[in-house]
Symmetry: C2
Subunit: 357 residues, 2 copies
């Protein structure tokens, strides 16, 4: 979609954020090298780890800034990029918590460090070494995140004004992650609680708060902050539900994950919770028996998918995605955002929630 500011649309912002992120990670190298050459490996791992990703949070922070009238400014690109370091911490720690072997097709950080321990023929448990190193690299990313925000070059008054929003973003992220861990551990499954997790882990952390951070840095008035919430919260929920649908019905070629991955993992998503709540006794038994079984065959996955469709959970979730997306678009429709931000945010909402199955 063409906008008057085509050089600064989503793809270009993504590219600028990626470049800024790799430059900033590079900038930490002398500090680490001065401490010890043994620490440099953390830098190498992080450089590889941060090459991928959609930069969604940074892009939204940028467009929150633009929506509030902010100029094209490399300092704001740097401030937006701070969210990608927060996200790197979340992913590195998440992989430790889930015991994930891979991230975007490459070994996860803790597995890479495990391999370093083995290759070096060091003492003790390689697994513990990987765990410890990944916790510490995540902690470094979390520290470097607000460090980058404050080194962005934006005026001190803007940073001081925005710090409380940045702070609540981190608290909501970590509390939301904890809520998710509790939810996955519970014996029962509940669609309202699944929506609460989606609200904190996705709607607020991924969409609403990044928009707020950008807007606040540009000095947005309260009514613009409210508009961005009215757009961001329903859209963020829709993002998460789309992700949940793709986790069950997505094409492996598009998602990069095995077909029906969420079913094998037994992930407690809204889609699954809704299926359980709508299931007949026989359907409930089949869902319950299959969910979380890592050895499900392709036929088993198909059968579970059929049940999720037959219960009406699939249609209901799709309806909810559509409603959320429309709410988000309506919030933009009645506003008048600066710099063509309304058009970009509309296009982004449609692209990120559209059916791909």
């Amino acid at each position: 979609m063409a906008t008057p500011e085509s050089p600064f649309d989503v793809e270009d912002v993504r590219a600028r954020v990626s470049l800024t992120l790799s430059e900033y990670v590079e900038l930490q190298l002398p500090t680490l090298r001065e401490i010890s050459s043994d620490v440099v490996v953390l830098h190498e791992l992080l450089t590889a780890f941060t090459t991928g990703g959609k930069r969604l949070r940074a892009v939204l922070a940028w467009w929150g800034w633009r929506a509030a009238g902010g100029a094209d400014d490399q300092a704001m690109i740097r401030a937006a990029t701070s969210l990608e370091l927060l996200q790197a911490c979340a992913l590195i720690h998440d992989d430790v918590m889930d015991g994930s072997d891979t991230r975007r097709g490459a070994p996860s950080i803790h597995r890479s460090l495990e391999a370093l321990h083995e290759d070096s023929q060091w003492r003790g448990s390689a697994e513990n070494f990987g765990l410890a190193g990944a916790i510490l690299l995540g902690d470094l990313c979390l520290s470097w995140s607000d460090q980058l925000l404050f080194e962005s070059g934006l005026p001190a008054v803007a940073l001081i004004r925005t710090k409380p929003i940045f702070d609540v973003t981190r608290t909501e992220l970590m509390a939301g992650q904890y809520l998710d861990v509790v939810e996955q551990a519970r014996a029962d499954i509940d669609s309202d609680r699944a929506l609460l997790v989606a609200r904190y882990k996705s709607a607020k952390y991924t969409v609403e708060r990044p928009l707020h951070i950008g807007a606040s840095l540009a000095g947005a008035p309260p009514n613009l902050i409210a508009t961005l919430s009215a757009y961001g919260l329903p859209l963020g929920e829709a993002f998460q539900l789309r992700d949940d649908v793709l986790g069950v019905f997505g094409d492996p070629q598009t998602t990069g994950k095995p077909a029906g991955d969420d079913l094998r993992e037994g992930k407690q998503t809204y889609l699954i919770a809704s299926a359980f709540q709508r299931a007949s006794a026989a359907q409930w038994e089949q869902l319950n028996a299959g969910l979380g079984d890592p050895d499900l065959t392709a036929d088993d996955v198909d059968r579970l998918r059929d049940i999720i469709i037959e219960t009406g959970a699939f249609a209901e979730t799709e309806k909810r995605i559509e409603t959320g997306t429309n709410e988000a678009l309506d919030a933009l429709g009645s506003s008048n955002l600066a710099n063509g931000a309304g058009e970009v945010l509309s296009a982004l909402a449609i692209a990120a929630t559209k059916r791909s199955t």
Copy 2:
């Protein structure tokens, strides 16, 4: 030791920091409760976790501030307390990395959460749940640390000026921790590398940087910053070496740990590295066979202690502690710190490095 400012000496500062810390942790409760009642348990665990501790980093930040002429100011107590939240993160994550069951006689955070999982009869691995919750609570503490610094009430210009020192403190802490993990994993042991770990984990993180943070908040000139380094670095190393000596020779009634705990753990400290480097072939074999054996008897511990004394490693380490402490005292002697800070810092150096065996 009486100083002109007796109401604000070390013990009083410690008490004010402890009160401020518990009030600030309490202040996070509404935010957590609004997210979900399921998250409140993290607050309860942190409240219990943060009741103990010597508040050394906060006390030193306070006296760095006082040394630079800072007035008695509750805002500075809050800023100093931010370091105790950083320390809470370090301890919570450290206990996860070490798999420690206890911290100051109570269950560690990950073990408490493991027990919650078991008591709630949740699904999956209780151990993984404890690990995940403790990683996230540590992340919350790390976030709340700079949050408290910026909510301290100190002027924005002082905060912005000091943020880079706070940032480097965090990087040195985490890189130092990683270095320690690598050191414990290496097959060989080396006294220079042990001193490097002590420099980053203790001398800089625990002593020099807290003093710098306080002094910078008060607007200290470069020569005062240099004096605080000349005091803090040798003293911080001496602190760590005293800790290492206590870990081998300390009285369980004073240290709160079993006698010879570091020997059973096989900790690679300067004292132990020095013993290996000075050992005869026969002594080396005995050290190597005993170190890291969790089943050492009291007699075994006594025998290893004798070897450490016989090699001269004990005397050499004591000498190094004395030299470091004297260097620190000399640095103060030639300076003229405000608010009687020189006397307080001298007393603190002597108290924290004195022989207790």
